[in-house]
């Protein structure tokens, strides 16, 4: 049965209009319909965090939101944040600290990390760990990821003071 709903949303600054089946979640829509395969699909039930994207400025689980629910919303993905250079400092720190191995979790991890960085607060390592606690990494053991995020937050704090 045809249930498709006319949906208009803005993805990485571009307006997109499609008829979407309600059963399709946001990440499938981004990957399959728009070819934005940077957001990954891991568990597909909200546990792993690989599909983290930003909707109206807030990070969400892309697999726990229907694409039709994004009608009228502004969606930003790893591609958008990467192209705009918003993630440049984090990407450099992840690279330098070896904060990834297979890279599957990295897009979601960067989205969650940037959410914390953008709050502009100086935070402890425990707070960093709590903030990325919804993002699984099966390679690194998190140590290097926390190092990378900590470095960016400290650098931003120094810059903020100067």
């Amino acid at each position: 049965m045809e249930h498709a709903v006319e949906t208009t949303l803005t993805v990485n600054g571009k307006q997109v209009r499609r008829r979407i089946e309600p059963r399709m979640h946001l990440v499938d829509f981004l990957r399959e319909e728009l070819g934005l395969t940077g957001s990954h699909i891991g568990c597909e039930h909200g546990v792993c965090g690989a599909c983290t994207v930003r909707v109206n400025g807030q990070i969400v689980r892309g697999c726990l939101m229907l694409a039709v629910q994004a009608d009228g919303c502004t969606v930003e993905t790893i591609e958008g944040l990467s192209d705009s250079k918003e993630l440049a400092a984090l990407q450099k720190a992840f690279h330098e600290k070896n904060a990834l191995q297979c890279g599957f979790c990295t897009p979601g991890m960067l989205m969650a990390a940037q959410d914390l960085v953008s709050h502009g607060k100086k935070v402890s390592r425990d707070e960093i760990r709590a903030h990325i606690s919804g993002n699984y990494c099966r390679c690194t053991g998190y140590q290097a990821i926390v190092d990378a995020i900590e470095e960016v937050i400290q650098t931003e704090a120094v810059r903020g003071q100067g």
Binding site: V60, Q69, S133
Partner: protein, 270 residues
């Protein structure tokens, strides 16, 4: 996995919403942080999802004559950032820190958690500890149900067909009242092994989550005069079901640990 096919409607008025939720196979969708995983895992197969997030008037937090009314669509993040909640319902402000992770807290709602009534969820235990009132809306108007009558069984509530959760009303914290929320998990944001919502006012109320099919009011422990008596009374109050990792005995022991921590925190001079 992928969700089965269903239709989707997003009503803009309550009247429209009531008409839609009475259709056969209809299910209410709010933040979707529990419903969508259950669809993805095909544990649920509704014919129609009625997305209530476009309804007006269900997203406010309001303090009025000693009652804090929190709209059903208020997200965990909004609740976490609310000065009213921090000041007047501190138990809830403490509890929200334990709910999942930032990306989920940005979408999940108070009303959704209350309507689902997961026995390991934080809010239902807080509702019971604070003797909150659930506000239900339907065609025939408003119905108020006390938390004690609202949670009926495993994922079972007093919500009748055609009703939606509109808000929850919490008594604002009075002078000399105190509360504390504690939870034990394997990792931050995981489902609770066991948790405790404790409130000390005119009387004491200890309510456990993850300890049964519903939030469990530990009546004997709550009435005890000393910590030792209260810990001892838990043996009669609680018979928590084992989960994948923890036996019933372990859980009951941990319930006692939380009781002791709560008691010591609450009995400290202000």
């Amino acid at each position: 996995m992928k969700a089965p096919a269903f239709a989707y409607k997003k009503p803009r008025s309550l009247e429209e919403a009531f008409e839609l939720i009475e259709r056969p196979g209809a299910k209410v969708l709010a933040g979707g942080q529990s419903l969508i995983p259950s669809l993805n895992m095909r544990l649920s197969a509704p014919e129609l999802l009625v997305d209530i997030t476009g309804l007006p008037g269900l997203s406010e937090i309001r303090l009025d004559r000693g009652v804090v009314r929190i709209g059903a669509l208020v997200t965990h993040t909004q609740l976490q950032n609310s000065a009213e909640v921090r000041t007047h319902v501190p138990l809830l402000a403490q509890a929200v820190e334990h709910i999942a992770h930032p990306a989920i807290r940005n979408r999940g709602t108070l009303g959704g958690s209350v309507a689902l009534a997961d026995p390991a969820a934080e809010y239902p235990a807080c509702l019971l500890a604070l003797d909150a009132t659930v506000v239900l809306y339907s065609h025939s108007g408003e119905r108020l149900v006390g938390a004690g009558e609202f949670f009926r069984g495993l994922f079972e509530t007093d919500i009748k067909p055609g009703e939606i959760v509109a808000a929850v009303e919490f008594p604002a914290l009075k002078k000399d009242e105190r509360s504390v929320f504690l939870e034990l998990t394997r990792r931050h944001g995981d489902y609770a092994i066991i948790g405790l919502a404790a409130h000390w006012g005119a009387d004491r109320r200890f309510v456990y989550l993850g300890a049964g099919a519903t939030p469990v009011f530990a009546a004997r422990a709550s009435g005890a005069k000393t910590l030792a008596q209260a810990r001892n009374a838990l043996k009669e109050d609680l018979d928590p079901p084992a989960d994948l990792y923890n036996s019933s005995v372990t859980k009951r022991h941990l319930a006692g640990v939380l009781l002791e921590r709560a008691w010591n925190t609450l009995s400290k001079p202000h």
